[in-house]
Each structure stands twice: as C-alpha cells, then as structure tokens.
C-alpha cells in the first residue's frame, strides 16, 4: 500500500498500475457488505456512541437526548460499584475461559478428524451445542431456570444424586492430584475445568466446527508426500497440520474472546440490558457497552498482533 502511494506521487500523470487495477475488483466482491457496513451498520453504531455522551430519556414515545459529555463514563468507573466488580470478573474469566476453550476445541477437532467407528454420530453430537447455546433453546432454558431452582430446593436429595456422583468424581480426581504432590494452583485449574465441562463443551461448538472444516480442506496429497519423505506423525502434525490451521486459529481466538466476554454468566450484558430497559438509563447503558467494546478491541488487538505473526498463509 505504502509503496504504491509513493509511486503514485512520483508520477502523477500515470494511471493505476496493473496490480492496483486488479485490486479494484476487491471493492466489487465486497460491495454488498461495504454497503451494509457504511449505510446501515455505521450509522447505528455512531448513534449508539452518541448516546454514550448523552442523558437519554424516552418521554411518551419520543427519544430525548441531552449532551452531558463524559459524565456517563465517569459514573461507570467511579460511582457505580456493581459495574466495576462485574467488569473485573468478566475480564478475568475471559482470559481463562478463552484459553481453555481454544485448547479444548483444537484438541477435539483433531480427534474428530481421525477415522473411527461412529465418527458421524460424534460429529452430530458435537454440533448440538451450536444449536442449543443460543436462540430458542437458550431462551427457554432461562424461562425454566426459575422453576428448576425452585424444584431443586424441594428435591435436592433425589435430583442431584447423579450430580453428586459427578462432583465426587471430580473431588476424588483433584484429591488424587493433591496426593501426587502437584501444585495447588494446577489442581484448582483442573478441578474447575472438569466441573465446568458442560459449559466448555457448549461454548466450543463453533470453534470445533471451524477447525474441523480447516482440517478437511488440507489436501491428502500433502500428507502422502510427507509420508514418502519419511515424516513421522508428530512431524506431520507440527509441520503440516498446525501451520495449515493457524488462519482458522485466528478466527477462533477472535470469536472466543468476543463470545466469552458476552457470556451471560458474567452478567455484563444483562447489566447493560437492565440499565437500558428497566432503569431507563439508555445513555448510561451505551456508555457501559462502549467501555466493554473498547476493552475487547484492545484485547483482540494484542491477541491478533501476537498470533498474526505466526499465522502462515499458503498464499
């Protein structure tokens, strides 16, 4: 890009060079999306940013906004004690969860790519969380949560006999690791991963699918060639499979960071919604969500910066 600009300056009469002309086709391909981004998405986004600096009230169906500068941001950090706690927890959780989810889905997709009996069924089952974790089913889960909480109190003994079995298994594993003399932090991490297994599986459905389709698109002839050259399975993995997966790794990291941060268990998004619709503080709600956007953008920027250096494209 920079090089081309320099050339342009040195010879202003010249038209576009061939590669620039070819690159103009990019606009053509991305045109529908560019139109959507510029004419629909950007105005909506700017409006939400404007609200962050305003005191917004809905009076008789009319939206009234008054410019108040950075008061909303000031309140979020210095006055509102709930927000800071929620926000801190969300950031902490984001790092831990993202790492676990990425490692797990990377491992699982490699397992699911191997040949074994019942592979099709396994893949279908691993797709289930993609469907279950959002939309209708998630909504119904919320509706049922209250009833379940009530019934759990009534029948704690019989219902959770099974769950207790699971918990005691996890307890005995962590106990065993303690006895083996592993450090406490490691035991804690493994214990929390095991007890969160359902959540992790639920959150890694999309990532497994992305990795899997990347694995599928590696041409078998590459592996054949490697085998002819005498590469071991280990070498094949690190020299072919892993580099071919790095572009998808970037997608997965970005997606995972975003989706764990918006994870309802941390309550940030619920808090924003409650501020906007129950308390009627629309301006404050959008200020809070903008703080969240900027944080995620910073985290993504750092993560993408580190990963991009290691991403290898065939191109």
């Amino acid at each position: 890009m920079v090089k081309q600009n320099k050339k342009e300056k040195s010879n202003p009469k010249r038209g576009m060079i061939l590669s620039e002309k070819k690159n103009m086709a990019g606009y053509f391909f991305a045109m529908p999306v560019i139109i959507g981004l510029v004419f629909i998405f950007l105005p909506a986004l700017v409006q939400s940013l404007m609200y962050a600096f305003c005191d917004v009230k809905i009076d008789f169906g009319n939206i009234q906004s008054k410019w108040i500068g950075i008061r909303n941001f000031y309140d979020a950090f210095l006055t509102d004690s709930d927000f800071i706690v929620l926000f801190g927890n969300a950031i902490q959780g984001m790092f831990f969860d993202s790492a676990v989810i990425i490692l797990f889905s990377f491992f699982m997709s490699n397992v699911l790519n191997q040949k074994f009996a019942g592979r099709g069924i396994c893949r279908v089952i691993f797709f289930l969380p993609v469907v279950l974790s959002m939309g209708i089913v998630a909504d119904m889960e919320d509706a049922n949560a209250m009833f379940n909480a009530m019934s759990a109190m009534e029948e704690s003994a019989s219902t959770s006999a099974f769950d207790q079995l699971g918990m005691s298994a996890i307890f005995s594993i962590t106990r065993l690791m303690d006895l083996m003399g592993l450090p406490m932090t490691m035991t804690n991490i493994i214990g929390s991963v095991l007890s969160n297994m359902y959540g992790i599986l639920n959150a890694s459905g999309v990532q497994i699918l992305i990795f899997l389709s990347a694995l599928q698109s590696i041409s078998p002839s590459v592996f054949e060639a490697a085998k002819m050259e005498g590469a071991t399975k280990w070498e094949e993995f690190w020299k072919i499979t892993f580099p071919m997966l790095t572009p998808s790794l970037l997608v997965c990291v970005v997606y995972t960071v975003i989706s764990t941060f918006t994870n309802p268990t941390y309550g940030v998004m619920d808090y924003v919604e409650s501020q906007a619709f129950s308390s009627g503080k629309l301006g404050y709600a959008s200020a809070v969500s903008w703080i969240y956007f900027v944080t995620v953008i910073v985290v993504l920027g750092i993560a993408a910066g580190i990963i991009s250096k290691r991403v290898t494209y065939l191109d």
């Binding site: 053509f28 391909f29 991305a30 629909i40 099709g120 289930l128 019989s158 698109s217 572009p247 956007f293």
Partner: protein
Amino acid sequence: MSIGWKIIRTIILVGCCYTILYPFLLKMIDAFKSFEDYLDPAVRYIPKYFTWNNIKQVLIQLQYGKSFPITFFYSVLIAVIQVFICGLAGYGFGRFKFRGNGLLFGLVIMELLVPPQTIMIPLYIRFRFFYGNLNLINTYAPIIILALTGLGIRNGLYIFMFRQTFKNMPKELEEAAIIDGCNAFQTFYKVMLPNAFSMIVTVFLIGFAWQWTDTTYTQLFQRSTNLLANMTSYVDGGEEAIMVLQYNNTAAVLCVLPVMLVYLIGQRFFIQGVARAGITG
C-alpha cells in the same frame, strides 16, 4: 495407532458426548412423560405413563404443519444468501489489497463484537420507516435485507472464516485461472469457491441453524410471522399454567430435531470435501 490412544480417545469421546447429550436426552424423555410423571421426582428416566399428548398439543400450538415449511425455506434462503454474500466479501477482503481494506475489515470484526441489543433501536427505526414511509416491520424483508448486506446474525464471523480460507489458498490457483482466460468473477466462481467447499458447508450449516433458532432478530422485526422461533413464545399450558414448562421443553425438542437432521445430511458433504480437496494439489 496404538491401543492406548484408542482407549483414551474412546473415553474422552464417550465422556464428552454424554455430557452434551444428557440434558437434551432428559428433555426428550420429558416430552413423553405425562404431567403426573413430570412433577413426580421419583420418575426420572422411564416414564410411568407414556404419552404422545404433549407432542400432539405442542404440534397444534406451534401450527407445525404451517410454520415448519415456512421456517425451513426461510432458513435455507437466508443461509444461502449469507454463504454467497459472505463468500464474496471474504474473497474480496482476503485476496485484494484495495484501499480501506483494513479499516472495512475492522468494521466487520466490530459487527461481530457489537451485540444486536446495542444497535437494535436504530435498526428497528430504519426498517419501520424504510426510505420514507415504507413499513417493513412484520414482513420477511428486514432479515433478508440484513443478510444481503452481510449484517445478519454473526455474519462477521462467516466473512472472517471465508477471508481466512481464501487467504490460505495457493496463489498459483488464481494465476492459472487468469492465464486460462477467466475474469475476476469466473476465477472466484469456478476455481476458488469449489476449493472452499468444506467452508461453504460449514457456514451454511451454522447459518441455517442460527437462523432457525434465532429469536433476537425475528422477534424484533417480524413478531407476527409464522416462524417457529415466534410460535414458541405463544406456547401456553392451558388450564394448568405450570404445564407450560413441559410444553416448552417439548417445543424446544421439536425445534432442534430438524436442525440436527439437516446437519446429519450436511455432514456427508464434509467427507466429499476431502475428496474434492485432492484435486487442487
């Protein structure tokens, strides 16, 4: 492959599948329980009084005969549009270094980052007064327009997936196509798309599943249309209000099963994708 790894693999897979399936299986069993069984904590896995009544009731309440085909064709349509638009955009962003590429792609990531709730109100107003006085609310148009402009549910993710896939393709493919006399669109259509086959299947399956189950946009823009996602919010328990819980469970099962069937079929194309990938070399 060693026996040890096979055993470990089986344990891991069985454990994971079980963890995923267990809550869903409980829901499926609940669908066949009579109401007494549902309230009885002693009845858990095998219903004492087996009944089809719940499913019959829910099928009637959802107007399944009518809402199923509508939802199916609508979801297929949206998923196809999304694959096409996001594929085009992904190719544009991945293979061409046009001016503003980075900035526009940053906006695509932003699209993924910004939850629908944030831009809900401006979007609603836009479609309520579409170009002056046209009211598109409660028609099928808003989501189609959003899909056509790459703004549908998490379309940023699909664009990103396609971009990475196309970026990872060897340059020689494109050059060969150009030498053979293809223009830019032919190169995309005849050479690049077939090579991204497994990504197309993936995006289609995710897009289909998410459109099928989406409640955020459908309930915002077209609350009174006959999509399954809307119909489920009208499920009620009749005389006994608490029965709504059991009906909700049944409705959830009935909504999810078709999606799983579509995935079961689509999954076969994954394997075909491997066979095709061999051609590229």
